[in-house]
């Protein structure tokens, strides 16, 4: 199969307009004949569900939490970008597009990113109309802050809870449609598989997480908005429930997976402090606006930070990148922190942390201003670490945060399975090899509010609107397979807990496929993964039964998929022999240890096709053409 990204012709700025015009329409009377399944109720899922229901489609929305208000989008702190140029500082749609493409180290599609920048403004309008309480200036106008990877202030925010407020806005729109009877909301349901009939996505199989009942659901189209796979590392800033299962099962049913090795490591997280630790907590990147990153100049300096004099501190980001300073993109900031720690200059009990210091900002702006800006973040930091950043520098370290890779989609956000659409973090489309801060919220909402409502019609108009039900034997077959897998898991009766094996997998991936990667390490991981998988299927312990709320079983199912998926990540990382964005291949670096891209050989999306268990996935290449920007070696100096 040849990958057709279906990017419209014409000048960049007109592509989306032209495409919207060319998209086939479903007339209003026919829309109510179409059923759409949306899996996931984060920003992308909730906004898509609401918008599709508003158009008249019948929507069934699924989430694995007890309420659709809890998707992990809720945890995004810093903000959402838009090219409003309210600050008159030279922002424009083109600049947002350019920053995003450059921030992604020229590994994203121009047309998708431009569309994202175009609709960014509509998102802010929409959210304000829903009652999202964005921060405001005294005059009542919207406030903006700046963020890493950009030199303009274009980030809209609601304190440190922007993701929460945007999600609650989308959730309220969703619940409004539930009231109208246009959305059927099914909570505490985990998608176990997608049902493909005659090459088209026709439904899903879910497990009712309370009763354990395996259910089948039919529809004319299936939309996956199931988030990222950062939890493959065990420790990440993702929610505990975030998983790759939906995307992975779709992959195994014929959806291609793109750039699985692109994982963003966020530079400002609270350092790891114990083996029992279950997750890592991110401190908003906005902290880098006023916080200065430093380490002691002398390796092994164990004095408390306040006792280290100014001339013995190395403000390494400011020194190395004078023009962006502490606001370099995430991948650069993360890698530099690792580099400092590798040189023995890391701080804290583990030596795996750097300081983020607010003392200068506090003496410049006063503690009142800093408290207003970051009070809730400081509070959160203090709760976890028992240290107050007003009095001593924060300690931070990079942590797995976001996955740019995901299911491959075309310009319509449709995967290689016709009728299966993928939105938000679950797809690969807009961030290239590195995502800029405050762009995830933008993409989730762009996909859900302003892209899928048009592009899904283009697909539905080509298929029959005859009612769908689950009577086709494919539903029974897929449901039986899902049930059999659960039975298999419960029958293992081994000795190790799911978390033990997950932790082992995570450590391996962090060491070999984390912040920096090399051939040898990746090969080792590739050799080691089957053994861990084997250990899992021979020796995992899952108490309880399948006919009840069984959290061990839920986790086991997810880890089983992570164990398979990890291999694809490593294979992808091996095949991309260049460094780009988050993907730092030690073999490919400049003399100054910066990432060195190889546009001649790697200016493409790596797309993987499932060819059966035990077989190597088939590699496909989607070449990336840059007609409007000139790929350059990123420089934030």
């Amino acid at each position: 199969m040849i990958l057709d990204s279906k990017i419209p012709d014409g000048p960049l700025a007109e592509k989306w307009d032209r495409h919207r015009f060319e998209c086939k329409l479903v007339n209003p009377a026919n829309k109510r004949k179409f059923d759409i399944i949306v899996v996931g109720a984060g920003l992308a899922g909730a906004s898509a569900s609401a918008s599709l229901a508003e158009l008249g489609y019948n929507v069934k929305t699924f989430c694995l939490q007890d309420s659709p208000r809890r998707g992990h989008s809720i945890a995004a702190q810093g903000g959402i970008n838009a090219a409003k140029n309210y600050q008159n500082d030279g922002d424009s749609i083109f600049r947002l597009f350019y920053d995003t493409i450059k921030g992604g180290d020229f590994r994203a599609r121009e047309a998708n990113v431009y569309r994202l920048a175009q609709v960014s403004n509509n998102i802010i309008d929409q959210c304000v109309a829903q009652g999202v309480p964005f921060a405001r200036e005294y005059g009542g106008q919207l406030a903006n802050r700046s963020f890493g990877g950009a030199q303009v202030s274009r980030t809209f925010y609601a304190r440190g809870q922007t993701g929460q407020q945007l999600l609650l806005g989308a959730y309220s729109a969703l619940m409004r449609q539930v009231k109208k009877g246009k959305v059927e909301m099914l909570s505490r349901r985990e998608m176990l598989d997608v049902v493909v009939i005659d090459g088209q996505a026709r439904g899903i199989v879910t497990r009712n997480m309370l009763s354990g009942v395996i259910e089948t659901h039919a529809a004319h189209a299936v939309v996956l908005a199931t988030g990222g796979y950062g939890n493959v590392y065990f420790l990440s800033t993702n929610a505990m429930g975030s998983n790759v299962t939906a995307a992975w099962r779709a992959y195994k049913r014929g959806a291609y997976f793109a750039n699985p090795c692109f994982v963003q490591i966020h530079p400002t997280c609270i350092p790891v402090h114990g083996t029992y630790q279950s997750k890592l907590t991110l401190m908003s990147e906005s902290l880098r606006n006023d916080g200065r990153v430093w380490v002691p100049k002398n390796p092994g300096d164990t004095r408390p930070p306040t006792e280290i004099p100014e001339n013995e501190r190395d403000y390494y980001l400011e020194n190395k990148y004078p023009s962006f300073g502490n606001l370099v993109p995430r991948d650069v900031a993360s890698r530099n922190a690792k580099e400092q720690c590798d040189q023995g200059k890391g701080v804290g009990s583990t030596g795996l942390a750097v300081y983020l210091d607010f003392s200068e900002a506090i003496s410049r702006d006063g503690s009142g201003v800093i408290t207003r800006k970051y009070g809730n973040l400081f509070h959160m930091y203090e709760k976890i670490t028992a240290a107050n950043p007003m009095h001593e520098p924060m300690m931070i370290f990079p942590a797995v945060h976001y996955t740019m890779g995901g299911l491959w989609v075309d310009y319509n956000l449709m995967s290689t399975i016709p009728g299966l659409f993928v939105l938000g973090e679950a797809n690969f489309s807009d961030h290239g090899a590195n995502r800029l801060g405050a762009s995830a919220l933008m993409q989730g909402l762009a996909d859900g509010y302003f892209v899928i409502p048009y592009t899904i019609g283009n697909y539905l108009a080509t298929i029959s609107s005859s009612p769908q039900d689950t009577s086709h034997q494919a539903f029974k077959q897929v449901a039986d397979e899902a049930a059999a897998k659960i039975g298999q898991l419960l029958a293992i009766n081994g000795k190790k807990t799911v978390d033990e094996i997950h932790r082992e997998l995570g450590l391996l991936m962090w060491d070999s496929c984390g912040m920096s990667r090399n051939e040898a390490g990746l090969q080792q991981a590739l050799a080691r993964l089957p053994a861990i998988r084997e250990e899992f299927w021979q020796n995992v312990a899952i108490p309880g039964s399948g006919q009840e709320l069984n959290q061990s079983l839920e986790r086991a199912g997810r880890v089983a998929d992570f164990l398979e998926f990890a291999e694809l990540m490593v294979i992808d990382a091996l095949s991309r022999k260049e460094s780009c964005g988050c993907h730092f291949r030690e073999e490919s670096q400049t003399e100054e240890n910066e990432a060195k891209r190889d546009d001649a050989n790697h200016a493409h999306v790596s797309v993987w096709e499932y060819t059966g268990d035990g077989n190597s996935p088939e590699f496909h290449k989607e070449p990336l053409a840059f007609e409007n920007v000139q790929p350059s070696q990123r420089s934030y100096k």
């Binding site: 945890a75 309480p133 929460q164 309370l210 997750k279 709760k383 028992a386």
Partner: protein, 253 residues
Amino acid sequence: MSDIQLTLKIWRQEGPDAPGRFQSYASGPISTDMSFLEMLDVLNERLTGEGAEPVAFDHDCREGICGMCGAVVNGHSHGPEKETTLCQLHMRHFNDGDTLVIEPFRARAFRIEKDLVVDRSGLDKMITAGGFVSVNTGGAPDANAIPIPQKNAEEAMDAAACIGCGACVAACPNASAMLFVAAKVSHLSLLPQGHPERARRALDMVSEMDELGFGNCSNERECEAACPKGISIRNIARLNREFLKAAIFSDED
């Protein structure tokens, strides 16, 4: 960092209709840097190893924002620390030898599903009743078209910070959901976008709350004290105002 040992008395209940009971566990050594849920993880790992059923509890983000976790610890919703969710509660706040009684949020409107897991779908139902602005995607005016005084935006944000965890209901002596409803009604009545539907919203959300079997507010202020986001009962006064205005003066019925 140091280790402490605790006695955990945890509510175990197999299903909604099964009888529940407390079961005691020795915690084993617990690092004071652990979060409360990590302490439960450690217990569950051990139970799993022993072939016993781990304790079921809801949780997801573990950074205090998704609102999924929550239990009553020694009579306190989300434990004894102020403005802290259970996942953000750290074991350094407990002492060696303490006994912790851990029970689920209890209310008629919150059915117990298993152990510490409860059904809070009532909260969603109240939002469904009217906790939204009726605006379709597209066609919104420019975001800066209607200026909103900073103070109003901030106050709306104070109310909108609700994470929907249900601790207010759990802590209320009457299992009332007034703080939850009040937070949403306040958030939207403080912003011009919410004004066209404010009367309808207040009436519908309160009537849904009553139907779901939550109790009546008696201004005990326990909800405010238990709220992990510090949402003020001032919002309840505002809800009362909005409701009475709607019930007595508006054309809505």
